[in-house]
């Protein structure tokens, strides 16, 4: 759609309202299916989302085919991460020592609250009233912006996608492309009501230009800058940040104070290990060989100071989970989201969590088993995610394992335990089973016992029901081949 006056727009070209994410109700389990249904009820949004992310998957495949050593790289990446995680204490201490030697101040935060308190304290001690920041899923996880708002600090997201979401008071929906669920018409509406752009102009270059122009003075006047980190290099104390916009470098190099918020799992041992990850990250995420900017910070800029806040927030505990610790290998590339057929049709906001898509399904229950108890069931266990993961996390197998855990913990409200028990008992007893199945016209109802409490009623909403045949295989066999029925 190009710009034009409101009155010129014919009815069928009226912008489709943006579907909003999962409904939050205290600690009640997120109903991902309900939110996904609403996303699907917005076909233009759903179509754009699915096409866009499938394109990223295809570009990733192109990069894979152009690199003969691709599978070897995945194995190396996985091995380096597993080694590092199994010696995480040693590498963290090594990083801290080297960073300190470079003039970096290192802080340790047990949890989200402590992380936020450290950041607030730093900003207040330096008298910083505005903070510019680049993308950091960790800060989303910690709910940093809310605590900063309480402390009277204005936060400006500089990444275009994050800024759109911030101005729309909505969470990012994807770890790499935070506003991928939005159409240009949605962005035009957000910007028009917040940064004063033309509401009738939804041309992406215009909108991006509007954000650039509006943000630049905020960057120049900011009291402090914050970045996340894609990698921490233990042997040199380096913080590595990968962006396409260069906004992390603006945040780190202009204000005097540079704060890095980073999860403890982002460690890798040596500079040479970095090559593996830098070569795999953008190829997996966007299908480009490298991000436009790959920055290595080993100390404060001239005249500045640099602080690194190492955050645990449940990671050390997850390290001890035998079936799930390898999820800590994650480099937040988003390839699993791009390939996941469920994610592409549901939108990332349908998961109601900081981390969505396949990786979200396996780490969110560690943050809140009750609230995210439905998520591992928002999957067909197809395994595509596992195959695209650059660090070889067996995501779909962990999804399967989580289902068992949640059932054991009685966290599966929508699946009637009684129905499963009854189905299990029926399948264990051949004579009873046979009678149930071969009652006239009852096969459908009987087999629905392994579906959920409302059986195949839900099946029929968008599909025709299967046609029950005249006789079962069992009946045919004994009618035609003899023997006891």
């Amino acid at each position: 759609m190009t710009s034009g006056t409101e009155g010129d727009r014919p009815d069928n070209a009226k912008p489709e309202p943006q579907p909003r994410g999962a409904r939050h109700n205290g600690n009640r389990p997120i109903d991902q299916a309900e939110a996904a249904e609403r996303f699907l009820a917005a076909p233009r949004h759903q179509q754009q989302h699915d096409t866009r992310l499938w394109t990223l998957r295809q570009r990733r495949d192109d990069q894979m085919w152009a690199m003969p050593e691709w599978e070897e790289m995945r194995s190396l990446a996985s091995a380096i991460k597993e080694h590092t995680l199994s010696h995480l204490d040693t590498y963290l201490e090594m990083f801290e020592a080297n960073a300190k030697a470079n003039g970096v101040v290192v802080h340790w935060a047990k949890d989200a609250a402590e992380h936020n308190a450290i950041v607030v304290d730093l900003l207040q001690r330096r008298g910083a009233k505005t903070l510019i920041k680049s993308k950091s899923m960790l800060t989303e996880e910690c709910g940093l912006r809310a605590d900063l708002a309480k402390a009277g600090v204005e936060v400006v997201e500089t990444d275009l996608g994050e800024r759109i979401q911030q101005l729309d008071d909505e969470d990012p929906s994807h770890v790499v492309v935070p506003a991928v669920h939005k159409l240009r018409t949605d962005v035009a509406m957000v910007f028009a009501s917040t940064i004063g752009s033309d509401p009738n102009n939804d041309d992406p270059p215009y909108l991006a230009g509007a954000q650039r122009d509006a943000t630049r003075p905020l960057i120049l006047n900011a009291g402090a800058g914050m970045t996340g980190a894609n990698f921490l290099v233990a042997e040199t104390g380096a913080v590595v940040v990968c962006t396409n916009e260069g906004n992390a470098d603006l945040c780190a190099n202009i204000p005097r104070l540079h704060i890095v918020s980073v999860g403890i799992e982002k460690l890798i041992p040596r500079t040479e290990d970095l090559a593996i990850f830098v070569r795999m990250l953008s190829r997996s995420a966007l299908g480009s060989p490298i991000t436009q900017y790959t920055s290595h910070f080993r100390g404060p800029r001239k005249g500045g100071e640099m602080h690194v806040v190492l955050v645990d927030n449940g990671r050390s505990e997850r390290l001890g989970m035998e079936e799930f610790w390898t999820s800590l290998k994650c480099i937040r590339c988003g390839a699993c989201m791009n390939t996941c057929p469920v994610y592409r049709r549901s939108g990332g906001l349908s998961y109601g969590a900081t981390y969505s898509g396949p990786i979200g399904l396996i780490i969110d229950p560690t943050f809140n088993a009750r609230k995210y108890s439905n998520l591992p069931f928002a999957s067909t266990l197809n395994g595509s995610c596992t195959n695209v993961c650059p660090v070889k996390i067996n995501i779909h197998e962990q999804i399967y394992a989580w289902r068992k855990v949640l059932v054991r913990q009685h966290e599966t409200p929508f699946v009637k335990r009684a129905a499963m028990k009854a189905a299990g008992a029926l399948f264990a007893r051949p004579a009873v089973y046979r009678t149930a199945v071969e009652r006239t016209n009852d096969a459908l109802a009987s087999l629905s016992r392994f579906a959920i409490y409302n059986g195949l009623n839900a099946w029929g909403k968008n599909r025709e029901m299967p046609h029950p045949p005249a006789e079962t295989f069992h009946q045919w066999y004994f009618r035609n081949r003899g023997g006891r029925p």
Binding site: V437, K461, F473
Partner: protein, 247 residues
């Protein structure tokens, strides 16, 4: 070679023709094929929903029923994937592991064990879209997965190529999940149905007259979507084509 014929629960109840075709096909190779009458289910529906202990009765029964066969062969990749890679509701005795290791899905049995090189009785002069179910593709490694940098191979394709007149057409998203996913099909019904619709439309655009699969569960789901969307495409199990089904 004594074969235990494994007929999954939903094939017994909804797709007996698939079971019949499987039996007849195996018998064409002069194998002794026995159908244990007391079989019910492999336990997958309960296990995939996380109810491992509730699957144990079915799994124990499976082991009892299929003791004493050289091979256990069934026309369902998802069930065989469950048996070989999960099946942990029962105690993992040597006997249980023996049964598990002898369980084969039909296509892999024909391709890997019997190494069938011809189906002279089969003729299927149609454009056919091959759908590999995810458990069969990525779990049983029926064919190469598009996400991996590996050479192209496909056991079902290599069998179907031996059927006279059959022309394979390729979907644009060759191995995207069709959305059945067992419990998923009713718990996330709208996404499941959309995935099925998209899959059917993809094959229709490739001009497939039939969609063939080694998994009836996927076919059942896709057929439901096709009928609802009024897409004129037919569905058939690979056992039926290989057994010489007329179209």
């Amino acid at each position: 070679m004594k074969i235990g014929l494994f007929i999954p629960c939903f094939i017994d109840a909804f797709f007996p023709e698939v079971g019949i075709a499987t039996l007849q096909l195996l018998e064409r190779f002069d194998l002794e094929v026995v159908y244990p009458p007391d079989q019910t289910c492999c336990g997958q529906p309960m296990a995939n929903s996380g109810f491992e202990t509730d699957a144990s009765g079915a799994e124990a029964l499976f082991v009892r029923n299929f003791d004493g066969f050289d091979y256990i062969v069934g026309p369902s990749g998802s069930c065989v994937h469950h048996i070989r890679h999960h099946f942990t509701g029962v105690e993992q005795t040597a006997a249980v592991n023996e049964i598990r290791s002898r369980t084969y899905e039909l296509v892999e049995f024909l391709h890997d064990i019997l190494k069938v090189d011809a189906f002279p009785w089969a003729r299927f002069p149609h454009k056919v879209g091959l759908h590999n179910s995810c458990g069969t593709l990525r779990g049983l490694r029926h064919a190469n997965a598009s996400e991996l940098r590996e050479p192209h191979f496909s056991k079902p394709e290599s069998l179907l190529c031996k059927v006279e007149g059959l022309e394979l057409v390729a979907a644009s998203r060759p191995d995207e999940c069709c959305g059945f996913g067992g419990l998923f099909s009713v718990v996330n019904e709208s996404v499941s149905a959309k995935m099925g619709s998209d899959k059917v439309r993809d094959f229709a655009q490739a001009r497939a007259e039939y969609i063939v699969s080694a998994d009836s569960s996927c076919l059942m789901h896709q057929r439901g979507c096709a009928e609802r969307d009024n897409v004129a495409i037919k569905f058939i199990h690979i056992a039926q084509i290989l057994n010489g089904a007329a179209s």
